[in-house]
Structures are given as structure tokens and as C-alpha cells.
């Protein structure tokens, strides 16, 4: 069964990005949020992106209208009834996500997939909010979704094989490259990338080199696009610190994932990276 209509819950950066990706792939999208304001902003942002794509010749005007035209917005969860899949991109609060899935149980038909874009919570635990956890799956997009091709498809302990296969297909239909992952904290990327930041921070804390030299060696010695400190500044030190913290705790304080005191101090002082004008580097200069 090919999915023709998908719902997206939450119109923040991830939600609106996912909606755009789906609409660009020709799917009808119903974008839900509790706030009309947020929905308005999301649509005008997608609209701006499409106009830019037309200006740059990556898309015809007709195609751009098509993308925007395929997205409808609502503040009523009941409007998601026709969706073959609902992708939840609400704030990272377990109770909120569980409640949304419980409510969706009685709205969408039984074959519909309920996917969560969580990056830090357990898919299994979110699925426990639904009466039909076999259809609950993780579908983890990367920020910004229109640019990054990867989607982690996460099967929870109760997720059915059919749900996983259908989600892998949907990701491909959306033009993405899916990888299949077990439900462990951080999945693949957020977990395997931890040492990149944490060892960088340890090297700095031990005074082996300054942050700029560490970045230079990782970039120039290893052909990474960015060193750990530049990348932390781009991601946001608060976000990056929270990710380390969450993986560390989810693995029962496994020492490999122990967060950095240096980074904590930076976060406490509000030096969060590019978004505040200063992180490890100064962006106001």
C-alpha cells in the first residue's frame, strides 16, 4: 500500500522541514500544530524556500506552487483522519508524545503508521502510549530535513516488521536514504558521534591543544568538514550538551559518554555558539 497523505505534528524547524520534504516528493501533507501563529510562520518559511529554489533555477514556478499547495494546515487533530502515516515532531516530552499517539489511535485508520521524530526518547516508551504499539516506529530526520538525506528508521520492542518495512519505503518515497536501527539511546548518529565532541572537549580540558588547533587538526588532518568546536557552535552548545547528557543517563552513566564540565560552564554562561554570537569562537568580531 503506497502512502498518499501524511500528517506532521508540530510546525517547528523539524516539523515544517519534514512537511516540505514530503510535499516536494508529491505527497499530500496535513501539518498540525496547536498554534495558528506557528503554522502561519511555517508556511511562509516553506513559501520563501520555494521562491528561492525557483530563483536559483532548481524548480519551475509551477512545481513550487505545487509543493506549497500540497500542504494544508490545521489545529484540529481530527483533521488527520485521511493520513496513511503521521510523523510526530512535537517537543521532546514523553507524556505529550504518548498522549498524541493515544488520541490518534481513534482518529486514523488501523493500518496507519504512527512515526515519531524523537532524537532522545525511547521509541518503545512512546509506542506504549498507543493501544497498537506494533504500528509505532521511529523516523528520525536530521536538521535541516530538506538538505540532509539520512533518516534513521527505528523499530521499538513492539514495532511490527511490516511497520518497519513500510516506513523504510516511505522514507525512500520521500527521497531519503533510510537506515534501519534498533531502539537504543542516541540511535546510530547521536551515539556514535559522541566521542567526536567529548574527546575534543577532553583534549581541550587537558591542555593538549587549544580549540582552534584541535579543529584544525581534525579538519586538515582527517578531512572532516568541521572540527568538533566549530560543529558544536553550529549545533548550539546547549543542544549538544543536552544530547551528551541524555545519552550518558540513558546508558546508566556509562563513563564513555560522560559530559564535559567545560561545556557545562559555557552553556551556563549563555555562550551557546553561532545563535548567540559567541560560543567557542566569537561571531561578532
Amino acid at each position: 500500500m503506497t502512502i498518499q497523505t501524511i500528517g506532521v505534528l508540530g510546525s517547528g524547524t523539524m516539523g515544517s522541514g519534514i512537511a516540505q520534504v514530503a510535499a516536494q516528493a508529491g505527497l499530500a501533507v496535513i501539518l498540525y500544530d496547536v498554534s495558528d501563529d506557528m503554522l502561519g510562520k511555517a508556511i511562509s518559511q516553506i513559501d520563501t524556500q520555494m521562491k528561492r529554489a525557483v530563483e536559483k533555477g532548481r524548480m519551475t514556478e509551477e512545481q513550487a506552487w505545487g509543493v506549497v499547495g500540497r500542504i494544508s494546515v490545521t489545529t484540529q487533530l481530527a483533521d488527520l483522519k485521511p493520513c496513511g502515516c503521521v510523523i510526530e515532531a512535537a517537543p521532546e516530552k514523553l507524556e505529550l508524545k504518548q498522549a498524541l499517539f493515544q488520541e490518534l489511535d481513534s482518529i486514523v485508520n488501523l493500518e496507519a503508521i504512527l512515526a515519531t521524530n524523537t532524537s532522545t526518547l525511547s521509541v518503545t516508551q512512546i509506542g506504549a502510549g498507543s493501544a497498537y504499539p506494533a504500528r509505532v516506529v521511529g523516523m528520525h530526520f536530521f536538521n535541516p530535513p530538506p538538505l540532509l538525506p539520512l533518516v534513521e528508521v527505528i523499530g521499538g520492542a513492539a514495532t511490527s516488521e511490516a511497520t518497519i518495512q513500510a516506513t523504510l519505503d516511505l522514507a525512500r518515497q520521500m527521497g531519503k536514504t533510510p537506515v534501519r536501527v534498533k531502539d537504543v539511546p542516541g540511535f546510530i548518529v547521536n551515539r556514535v558521534a559522541r566521542p567526536f565532541y567529548l574527546e575534543g572537549l577532553r583534549l581541550l580540558a587537558e591542555g593538549v591543544a587549544d580549540y582552534a588547533t584541535i579543529d584544525k587538526l581534525v579538519r586538515g588532518g582527517g578531512r572532516f568538514k568541521m572540527g568538533p568546536f566549530e560543529l558544536m557552535d553550529l549545533i548550539g552548545l546547549d543542544i549538544n550538551y543536552a544530547a551528551s547528557h541524555s545519552v550518558y543517563n540513558a546508558y546508566f552513566q556509562e563513563p564513555r559518554f560522560r559530559p564535559s564540565l567545560l561545556q557545562q560552564r559555557m552553556v551556563e554562561s549563555g555562550q551557546l555558539g553561532r545563535k548567540t554570537g559567541k560560543g567557542w569562537y566569537d561571531y561578532n568580531a
Partner: protein
Amino acid sequence: MSNILIIGDSPLAAEMAALAGQAGHTALAYLFNQHGPESSPLANIPLWLQETADSLDLIVEAVVSSRLLKQHTIQRLSDAFVGANEPILTAALNASVAEVSQWTAHPANVVGWAALPPLGDAEVIEVAASIRSDPVMVSRAQEFLASLGKEPALVNDSVGGVLPRVVANLVNEAAFALMEGVASAEDIDQAMKLGTNYPHGPLAWGDQIGLDQIVGIMAALGESYGPDRYRAAPLLNRLVQAGMWGKRAGKGFYDYPIE
């Protein structure tokens, strides 16, 4: 142009020899794949190597899979070759420069270097001085790396250096994830390349660096900082024990056709 002796069990040694040759140096390479110190490759120094003893300008060592083997190699090198004038560049991947300096008769001559395969891709190579390194020797080490077209970047003496320590831990974490069945090797590599823009998948990179080398780096970090944080993934140990060191052995996380 200088006469350089390059010795080691790391793919870095072969890559360094090729680079030195391209740069116009006379590069003598003594490469081996020995695992374990029982049979020190320098127990009997080959005749051709003995004959070069007096003409060497600089020695590069890259023995990374075993610290004991590194010690034997450095000691034999020191006894047989090193006079007061030749810098010894030791790969700081699995020992501190200070420690290695104590294995020679000329501690001031020992300078650290650190990099990872593929060395051809590296624009910058780290150089580490120990507390005992002679600044003249450090300068000569930097000049040598610059002659290869690489920018030397000075860092403090620390086991594993900067880049090898970061990357060895990435490979190790990916090995843990593979061992736990989180995803297939291909999917783990794909995810890291696409999700966070890494230049290589960590498992394929581990195969290229050499899994014995990764285990060597992790073991040295464990000895230095305590094993809690730097425990090698059991899967990594098992692959190395089985002789599956990666690309060089034809088998590692992936299979490689032997040409």
C-alpha cells in the same frame, strides 16, 4: 634531501615512506606486521639496514599495535643507529613522547608525531615535544614534515595525540554499536557519512587505519587514563585476535579482495 629510515607496523609507515620518496628524500622502509613482542622484528637487523646506520639523517617510527613491540623497536633502533644528531620521530598514538624518550640513549632527540591513514589526504600533521625534547630536534622534525608538503602543528605531549584519539574513539563506539546489533556495518557507516558529514564511515575507516592500530591506541589510552572510558569494544579485540586487522589482512569489518 635527507636519508630517512621509516620503521613500523602501521600503514602509516608505508604511507610515510611513499611520501618521503616523492618529496625527493632517500627513504628506507622497514615494515612489518608483527603482533606481539615475542619475535621482535629487529632481533636480527638485516644487513642492508645495518649498512645505513652511519648515513641516516632522521628516523620515523610507527609501531602502534603493541606498546611492548614499540619499546623493543625503539631500544634496538637506539642501540644500533641513533647517534647524538638524528631526531627520532615516534608515533605518539600509543605512548607519550616522554615515555618513548626514556627507551633511548638520547631522550632529547625524541619528538612525537601523529596522523592517520590516508596520509595523502592530510594537510596538517601534529608534532609533539616532550619535556625533554631538544628544540633543535623539534625544528628538524617540523622541517621534515614541511618538506613533505604537510603543515606541522605543535601540540602538547599526550598519548594518542589529537586526531588519532578522536577517530579511534569513533571507530570504537561504532564497533560497540555493531556488536550490540544496533544496525549493520553498512548502515552505521552510511548513517555517519550522511547524518553528520563524516569523510569516511567509521568502520571502513577503522579497516583502513588497521584494527590492530585502533586497539593499540585504545589500550594506551586505557593505561594512561584508566580503562573505564577507553575500553576497546570486545568485538574489536576479537577481530584483531582472529587476524582480521582490516584492509591489510583482507578482512576486518568488511572483506577486501586481495590483489
